[in-house]
């Protein structure tokens, strides 16, 4: 299993400020190759990480066996909500530290990533487990929770070999509240099931 800090977060350097999400996926592939990890991969992506996991599957189709998307941000939701989703992201005009700079870069490149063909799950034929929050959490007007859940359902129902898991009792922070759902999904994919 591999966990890493995205550029500018944790202990990773921030890298160039024009670093794109696509380039970050390519760099992760480079690092995984340098570390000689098995090229048979399962990507688990939480929230924004869901977009990155889907992009990874598109860019390296021969290396990705399956995806676990954990309450994922996704292209279907962005398409359905339009500008509303952009009103929810933080505006960081004067970054005070490396993390803020990395977050500002993430926000500034979000639109491009969300609309990029590599962020679409539609053409992926690999197994996908989508874990959606059991409890509403957006709390915005207009209601964002219905399209959020609907987007996750749509991903799961778009092709055979996909399934939806509802993380009962959890809002967006499923890794903290219901890690068992993520572990179960990963184990099923490791064992060759959906």
């Amino acid at each position: 299993m591999v966990v890493y800090d995205r550029a500018g977060f944790g202990q990773s350097d921030i890298g160039p400020m024009d670093l794109t999400p696509r380039r970050q996926v390519e760099q992760l592939d480079r690092v995984l190759t340098l570390l000689r990890t098995p090229p048979d991969r399962i990507l688990m992506g939480h929230s924004y990480g869901g977009l990155m996991a889907v992009a990874h599957a598109h860019l390296y189709p021969g290396k990705v066996r399956g995806l676990v998307l954990v309450d994922p941000m996704n292209q279907r939701f962005v398409t359905a909500t339009g500008d509303a989703v952009y009103s929810t992201v933080p505006k960081i005009e004067h970054p005070a530290n490396t993390r803020d700079s990395a977050l500002a870069r993430l926000v500034s490149t979000f639109d491009g990533l969300a609309k990029d063909p590599t962020a679409s799950d539609a053409d992926l034929t690999i197994p996908i487990v989508v874990i959606t929050a059991g409890e509403p959490f957006w709390g915005k007007t207009p209601d964002m929770d219905k399209p959020w859940r609907a987007s996750h359902t749509a991903i799961a129902e778009a092709r055979p070999g996909r399934r939806l898991v509802v993380a009962e009792g959890s809002k967006h922070d499923i890794p903290a509240k219901r890690p068992d759902t993520i572990i179960d999904a990963a184990v099923s994919l490791v064992e060759g099931k959906t």
Partner: protein, 52 residues
């Protein structure tokens, strides 16, 4: 903590004893990326993409 739990579970199904992870900085292409690798017995790489 949570990821560690996931690692424990995945390694247990692989019948592999938990070993200390490789905790390293790797040149990702002009900058250093912090990576932790938990080696298991099965030839599969499970990668966690965290949220923003």
């Amino acid at each position: 903590m949570i990821l560690a739990a996931a690692v424990l579970s995945l390694q247990s199904i692989a019948g592999h004893t938990l070993a200390p992870p490789l905790d390293t900085l790797v040149d990702a292409g002009g900058y250093r990326m912090h990576v932790m690798v938990y080696r298991g017995a099965k030839p599969v790489t499970v990668v966690m993409e965290v949220g923003g």
